[in-house]
């Protein structure tokens, strides 16, 4: 059933308004007021999004199309199950990241905080817009907004390395975005519609095989860049120069997930399994994703900088999602959709730990963190739990999603990918467990570790929350807003779980 409601639009607009408010107030008001706006908007947004979950679970959809955005196509928002998964993750984690940001930015005495919080709010608006977009043009508008809003975050420090990584980020995202644009126009001319439909609206055989593969590549270029699929991942590690909450946002909440979600939308809701398989795009995705998983793990092992190691881990984990989608089996797509959730909580925990360690002790290289458990026990425990989750150990969120992807691969008889997935789990252990061992080691490698105590509560509380949520989702994937059921519905193409 379709429910006409302005709620999806409101969920998008609330953080946009917050951004405008933050820009206007700027440095004229106290930082507390400014951050109050951020937090208030985050809470309202999350409430709006979560309030729509029950109806969506029952098989309904909220729909709203405020006006015609171009001749013949409306700006339209629709809350299907897939969109809800992403929206719940993004809006839920925005609250957590906001609290953490406040702790981090103040603890680190960052400059230009007004611009930072405003851009952050625009990013979240775009992420929700992407999640709820009902057609490709609405999707594209928010996709490009996300690109632009992330740019000031990536180049936050405004020094030469920040400028360089900002340029790199723009080069990757704008080029792929423009190609995406050309592909969208082509789709509109050829098929006369841009509305997402479960099972896709591009029929196999409606154009030449090569032509369709080309279209597939152009469409997915944007998603592949944002989700860091090799060989298009170059921007992600260099974006590490940004402040840690930005990395957390980039890696866990908005940007890379928007990329992965874009892949899900295009493959599952524009092309559909049949056409994606027919033109060979699905196979291309799976092979690229498999290669990315292996290569990124190998690179991650060699990185001594904690954030860099996590960055390569993100590239690998995002490729799990893409691999799950590329296998084109409902189970694997369920796994992929749920991995958006699982990885979000796990990776944000890891990044927030890295940030907390950096702000509290000033350490950023793994080799200097020996014996850190003594000074920051809570942070270290959360880091360990999240690491195990990333590796896909049972009882943690990563297990649920990975098992589903493997199950899908089995059912499609793609045993090679099963092997890749299992190997990747071992790889993940091999690059994260050494970090944990160093944390818990007896040897203390830096004198700072003997001073002071844990991170400030504004940073510690979010870390504990996300770590606990990752654990809960691992044991009861349907706890709270039933994200697992939503993921199943997304893969089955709507309809309540019967």
């Amino acid at each position: 059933m379709i429910i006409e409601s302005l709620r999806p639009l409101a969920a998008v607009a609330v953080s946009l308004l917050a951004a405008v408010l933050i820009m206007i107030c700027g440095n004229r008001v106290k930082p507390d007021v400014r951050e109050g706006i951020t937090l208030g908007a985050a809470v309202i947004k999350a409430l709006l999004v979560f309030s729509m979950v029950p109806a969506v679970l029952a098989g309904n959809e909220y729909y709203c199309s405020p006006w015609e955005i171009v001749d013949g196509i409306s700006l339209a928002f629709r809350t299907d199950a897939a969109g809800m998964v992403f929206a719940c993750v993004a809006s839920g984690l925005w609250i957590v990241t906001s609290i953490y940001s406040i702790g981090y930015m103040r603890g680190h005495h960052e400059k230009n905080q007004t611009g930072y919080f405003a851009a952050f709010a625009v990013c979240l608006s775009s992420a929700i817009g992407i999640a709820f977009a009902a057609n490709l043009i609405t999707f594209f508008i928010f996709y490009e907004m996300l690109t632009i809003a992330t740019y000031p975050l990536v180049s936050h420090y405004r020094n030469d390395s920040a400028k360089a990584s900002g340029r790199k980020y723009l080069a990757y995202t704008l080029i792929s975005g423009q190609l995406f644009f050309a592909a969208i126009v082509t789709v509109y001319v050829k098929y006369g519609t841009l509305d997402f439909r479960a099972g896709g609206f591009i029929e196999a055989g409606s154009m030449g095989q090569t032509a369709m593969l080309l279209l597939f590549i152009l469409m997915l270029g944007g998603g592949a860049v944002k989700s860091g699929l090799m060989p298009l991942h170059g921007w992600l590690p260099s974006a590490m120069v940004a402040p840690t909450p930005v990395s957390a946002l980039l890696h866990a909440v908005a940007v890379v997930k928007a990329g992965a979600f874009c892949v899900l939308r295009i493959v599952w809701f524009v092309f559909g399994a049949e056409s994606a398989a027919w033109c060979g795009g699905g196979r291309l995705l799976t092979w690229l994703a498999a290669a990315t998983i292996i290569l990124s793990s190998l690179i991650a092992m060699r990185k001594d900088n904690l954030k860099a190691r996590l960055a390569y881990s993100t590239i690998g984990q995002l490729s799990y999602i893409i691999l799950g989608i590329g296998i084109l089996a409902p189970y694997s797509v369920t796994g992929a959709a749920f991995h958006i959730v699982a990885h979000a909580f796990l990776k944000i925990t890891l990044f927030m730990c890295a940030g907390a360690i950096y702000v509290t002790t000033g350490l950023s290289e793994i080799s200097t963190m020996g014996g850190l458990f003594k000074r920051m026990p809570v942070t270290c425990v959360c880091f360990t739990a999240a690491s195990l989750g990333i590796a896909g150990l049972p009882l943690l969120a990563g297990f649920v999603s990975k098992m589903n992807i493997i199950r899908g691969a089995f059912m499609e008889n793609k045993l090679f990918f099963v092997a890749v997935l299992v190997a990747a789990a071992l790889f993940a252990l091999s690059y994260l467990i050494p970090v944990v061992r160093i944390f818990f080691g007896k040897e203390i490698s830096s004198p700072v570790i003997n001073e002071g105590g844990e991170a400030s509560p504004a940073m510690l509380v979010p870390i504990v929350i996300t770590a606990v949520v990752s654990f809960i989702l691992g044991v009861m994937p349907n706890a709270g807003p039933q994200l697992y059921n939503l993921a199943v519905m997304a893969a089955q193409g709507g309809g309540p779980i019967g």
Binding site: W67, I69, R158, A162, G166, L170, F181, V185
Partner: protein, 499 residues
């Protein structure tokens, strides 16, 4: 009064322009106010006319002195030019308002300011006339008014301006002559100067050589006026050195209305059935593609803000011509939308350029470091308009690109889409380079000529800030409401294909 709107829109500013020097002799302040008031009145009337055309659903015809066409001069206001007229009047009024802080700085106040406002008003009159008229020769007359006003406004600019004005004088005259010759050939073949009548009579013309020569003359003539590659030689210098306050109007709309005239000739007077029309479209397409690439690449080479904007205009005019070359509904809709949106974008960007010069005398982008702290409103406008220029949603520039790409793909012209994509990316390079300077560059010591502390905390006079913000607001409104504009012009454009 509603019946006389088409002519009043031009007569009122004309009276203003003529009265301004007389009044200025006694009070320069009131002379200025006369012009600003006349242009605002014209703007209000143009909006009324827009509403009127929308309500009637068919074109408004106005016969000068009651002489019926094809003998008398006729103004025809349909969906497309009602939009053009409103756009010209809006930018004219905004620019007149914008000018006053710049003219106050002038020592020889009385005569200089009288001349300036009068000429600025004539520029608006010429452009309004060019957009209103339904008579090919009358269009030439208004085009000459525009050119003469343009020479004057360019010449009173910076130190190098007289040379730029002279150069424009030479090329502009050649362009106008070519246009006049084209009209002459058409007159010899059809015996009429009325556009609608000409379109009918062209069906029976047998001597096609004359028509083909006329077409070539018109492409060159209008091409010079709209600075279409390779006829753009005069434009970069003229746009860089012109009077700071008049520059937004010169750069924003002086090159757009000839583009609108090109639409009239290509689609309303000529039609597809004429031989060589396909070839003309192709030639214009080639010029457009070369212009887009040339303008964008050339803009990368400069550090002078005005030069970057000027070369970017050459590229953007190429977008408009590209729409005509595509020639189907969406191509034309994209071109018309781009005329309007680029007019506001470029006018707005030149406002920011003038504002930067007004406060800090910044000419080069290298001096922009950290200016955003000192001029937040200007910077906000600059960012909005530049993102629109690059063609990023949800700003107007994206949507005109959308329609152009849509039209091109409908015709199977994928190459044009590739050019649009490439041009967006090149645009991103030079505009993001400006952003980098603006937000991340190193601060340079500059004399603040309008200290905020002495002016109640304002970064600039309100008369500068309001037009700036209006331009940014228009770009957002045109972006989000683009389907309204397309619906409005739809009927007129579709008639082109029915004929």
């Amino acid at each position: 009064m509603i019946n006389h709107l088409p002519v009043l829109i031009i007569i009122v500013p004309l009276m203003g322009a003529i009265l301004c020097p007389l009044i200025s002799y006694y009070s320069p302040e009131w002379g200025k106010k006369t012009v600003i008031g006349a242009l605002f009145a014209s703007f209000v009337m143009s909006v009324m006319q827009l509403v009127n055309v929308a309500e009637r659903g068919e074109p408004v015809h106005y016969w000068m002195g009651g002489w019926n066409p094809p003998y008398g001069i006729e103004f025809v206001i349909d969906g497309v030019n009602a939009v053009m007229i409103a756009m010209v009047a809006a930018i004219g009024a905004m620019t007149a308002l914008f000018s006053s802080p710049f003219e106050e700085a002038n020592p020889k106040h009385r005569f200089r300011s009288a001349g300036y406002y009068s000429i600025l008003c004539f520029l608006a009159i010429g452009l309004l006339g060019m957009s209103s008229t339904g008579d090919a020769f009358n269009l030439y007359v208004f085009m000459e008014i525009v050119s003469l006003a343009g020479y004057g406004l360019i010449a009173i600019g910076e130190e190098k301006a007289p040379v730029a004005a002279f150069r424009y004088l030479l090329t502009g005259t050649i362009g106008a002559c070519m246009y006049l010759m084209g009209v002459g050939f058409l007159y010899s073949a059809t015996g009429t100067l009325n556009m609608a009548d000409m379109a009918v009579r062209l069906q029976d013309v047998e001597n096609m050589t004359v028509i083909i020569i006329a077409m070539a003359c018109l492409v060159v003539g209008l091409g010079v006026k709209m600075a279409l590659f390779p006829l753009h030689g005069w434009q970069p210098a003229a746009h860089s050195y012109a009077h700071h306050a008049a520059d937004p109007m010169i750069a924003g709309i002086m090159i757009k209305i000839p583009a609108y005239a090109m639409f009239r000739f290509f689609f309303c007077i000529f039609d597809e059935s004429l031989p060589m029309m396909g070839a003309v479209h192709k030639i214009v397409g080639v010029m457009a593609v070369c212009g887009i690439l040339f303008g964008s690449l050339k803009a990368l080479r400069y550090h002078k803000y005005n030069k970057i904007l000027a070369y970017s205009s050459i590229g953007q005019v190429g977008y408009i011509a590209l729409g005509f070359a595509i020639g189907n509904f969406y191509g034309i809709a994209g071109a018309v939308l781009h005329i309007v949106s680029h007019a506001f974008m470029k006018t707005g960007l030149f406002y920011t350029s003038a504002a930067l010069k007004y406060k800090y005398h910044i000419e080069y982008t290298d001096d922009l470091g950290q200016v955003y702290r000192k001029m937040p409103v200007t910077s906000l406008t600059l960012v909005t308009l530049a993102l629109s220029m690059v063609g990023l949603p949800p700003f107007a520039g994206f949507f005109s690109k959308w329609y152009l790409a849509l039209g091109a793909i409908q015709n199977g012209q994928y190459f044009y889409v590739a050019v649009l994509v490439a041009s967006s990316l090149l645009g991103a390079i030079y505009f993001f380079r400006i952003f980098e300077k603006l937000f991340m560059g190193e601060e340079t010591e500059m004399e603040d000529r309008y200290p905020a502390a002495e002016h109640g905390g304002k970064e600039l006079p309100l008369r500068i800030m309001i037009p700036l913000l209006m331009a940014a607001a228009m770009i957002i409104a045109l972006g989000l409401g683009n389907s309204l504009v397309v619906d409005f012009i739809e009927k007129t454009v579709l008639e082109v294909f029915l004929a």
